[in-house]
């Protein structure tokens, strides 16, 4: 029974990791190519979830909702890139932080305006309802497995996009020398908008996928955004490979910590005390891991700059 529970928690950790990867990949891409720190990435995640929940409720189809979430997040991403973000590329980090913080205030309050303060709910599509048996007894939600599958597919897709296509070549060139590719006749403005919209679409996809597991509400993007920051700091800012490794580390460490720490502590102290202390420690665990990694590698595991 314990093995089954362990496998289940490992899969949960992987699912969280995959979801964080979708967020972190966009953040790290935007930082790597444009040198921009985007706090409003969590708002794009929220927009994806709201678009999916609203459209799915109106049409009755989760899949149309999923497409709507991609379109809405990419669309809003492109609009704010053209209207605001574009003016921030040659500013310092302070201005970028403040302007994107202002965007969070605007987008969160705007969402509350449109959708109200009550959470929306999104059902798991019928095709993915049900559970799969696990080795060692026990069952696992099919939908969560599907999220892991989507995450792996996106990782492979991004790898192919960046290493095999013309757009990917331009993105890599933009990372190493933005003036030079401009001089070679690539329209940097459009490239930046495309990269930003791509990152936004990934965040929107993550939001829509998670929307069926938890309630869809204003502010849902912020905890995820901060976890995604931890991920890219661990992985090395600008590195997609680092984002993948960092996301899996954070997802698994966080989930396993919450699962194992209370029972480990229960060996040495009364059970009720172990539960509270274990929960409190588990909530800090990933930050401790981050601090340890940074103490040895200050620019992350796979630094793009080095």
């Amino acid at each position: 029974m314990f093995t089954a529970l362990l496998i289940e928690q490992l899969l949960n950790g992987l699912q969280l990791g995959v979801m964080l990867f979708l967020m972190a990949a966009g953040l790290t891409l935007i930082f790597g190519v444009m040198g921009l720190i985007n706090l409003a990435h969590g708002s794009l995640y929220m927009i994806g979830a709201f678009a999916c929940a609203t459209v799915a409720a109106a049409t009755g189809s989760f899949w149309i909702g999923l497409i709507a979430s991609l379109a809405a997040a990419a669309g809003v991403g492109a609009i704010i890139e053209v209207a605001v973000i574009r003016r921030l590329y040659d500013r310092d980090h302070l201005d970028q932080v403040l302007a994107t913080f202002a965007l969070i205030l605007i987008l969160s309050e705007g969402a509350r305006w449109l959708f109200g303060s009550f959470p929306l709910y999104l059902d798991i599509p019928p095709l993915l309802q049900g559970a799969v048996p696990l080795p060692g007894g026990g069952q696992y939600q099919l939908y969560r497995l599907a999220i892991i599958g989507v995450g792996i597919a996106v990782a492979v897709g991004l790898y192919l996009l960046i290493s095999r296509t013309r757009l990917g070549m331009r993105i890599r060139a933009g990372e190493s020398d933005r003036e030079m590719i401009g001089a070679l006749g690539v329209d940097i403005g459009t490239l930046y908008t495309v990269v930003f919209a791509l990152g936004a679409a990934l965040a929107g996809l993550a939001g829509a996928l998670v929307g069926a597991l938890q309630s869809v509400q204003v502010g849902m993007g912020e905890p995820v955004l901060i976890l995604a920051f931890v991920v890219i700091v661990i992985g090395g800012i600008g590195s997609i490979k680092g984002a993948l490794v960092g996301a899996v580390i954070v997802g698994v460490v966080d989930t396993m910590g919450r699962f194992l720490l209370p029972s480990l502590l229960a060996l040495t102290m009364p059970a009720s005390q172990a539960t509270t202390i274990g929960a409190a420690l588990a909530s800090m665990l990933i930050y401790v891991v981050m601090a340890l990694i940074l103490a040895f590698r200050p620019s992350g595991l796979f630094s793009a700059q080095s």
Binding site: S108, R112, F229, S283, A291
Partner: protein, 323 residues
Amino acid sequence: MTRETTINLLLALLLLGAPILAASLGEPFYVTLATRIAVLALAAVGLNLALGLGGLLSFGHAAFFGLGGYVAGIMATHAFNAEPLFANIEATTSMPLIWITAIAVAGLVAMPIGAISLRTSGVYFIMITLAFAQMIYYFAISWPAYGGEDGLSMSMRNAFPGVNTAKPLPYFLICYAALMAALLLFRVVEGSRFGSALQAARQNGTRVAAVGIAPFNIRLVAFALSAMITGFAGALYADLNRFVGPSMLSWHMSGELIVLIILGGKGRLFGPVAGAMIFVFFEYVLGGITERWQFLLGLILLGIVLFARGGLLGLLSGKPRHV
């Protein structure tokens, strides 16, 4: 006297005069509003030391603000229930003792956080300070002994010898005096050898290292000092609201402290004061017009960042000397 000094003096007199006038007219609400300005400004003066002078963009100062607040809240709760803090250390409701504890706690926590965070720079530094603050935030939420998610209510304000802190005006004067003391400290630090080294490290760390000063140590001391001032403000803020909760530790708080500095003018002595005045004014006026005041605040902030760099003091008193 430069134009900036005149404006600073006017701001200081305005912040002192308005609540005294309001109290004599029997409008205690405005006194509380002014106290809020003074306390938020004090917290931002702390951050301004790291951000304005040292160029250290800490996105985690809410951690120190909240820690200071929790020191005040925990002390008050223990004293109210007549429980000792630890084995035989008694809790106190004396504000000076609470302030010293809050300042010490903020400084002690800031040292390891700063030591790890300052190994990095740029975006990493922003994200790491944010992550450490979140760590403390989640700890406060999941630790049930002191209210967890609900926070701690204090039945009454802590005491200051010879002053009735329950009345709005005396409490305002305490906070105002604390703000002025911190501004004086900021001025002294800015003009000292240490302050020169700190500002030089902001402009060019390599050159500072080349003349034999380790930028890391300078920055670490500045970071800790800045955290201590913000922690002090946190203790005052908890006593002002007679409540401390995880919202004081949240990253919105960290963002707001940065916003205060930018609204007023980064690196300027009275920048945080002007910023806190504008912020609380917006909060009060816009909040009175619409529930969606944060939407408008976002738009205004965006406008200031994109088009009006230098904040209010930059607008009023021209370019700062150090640029």
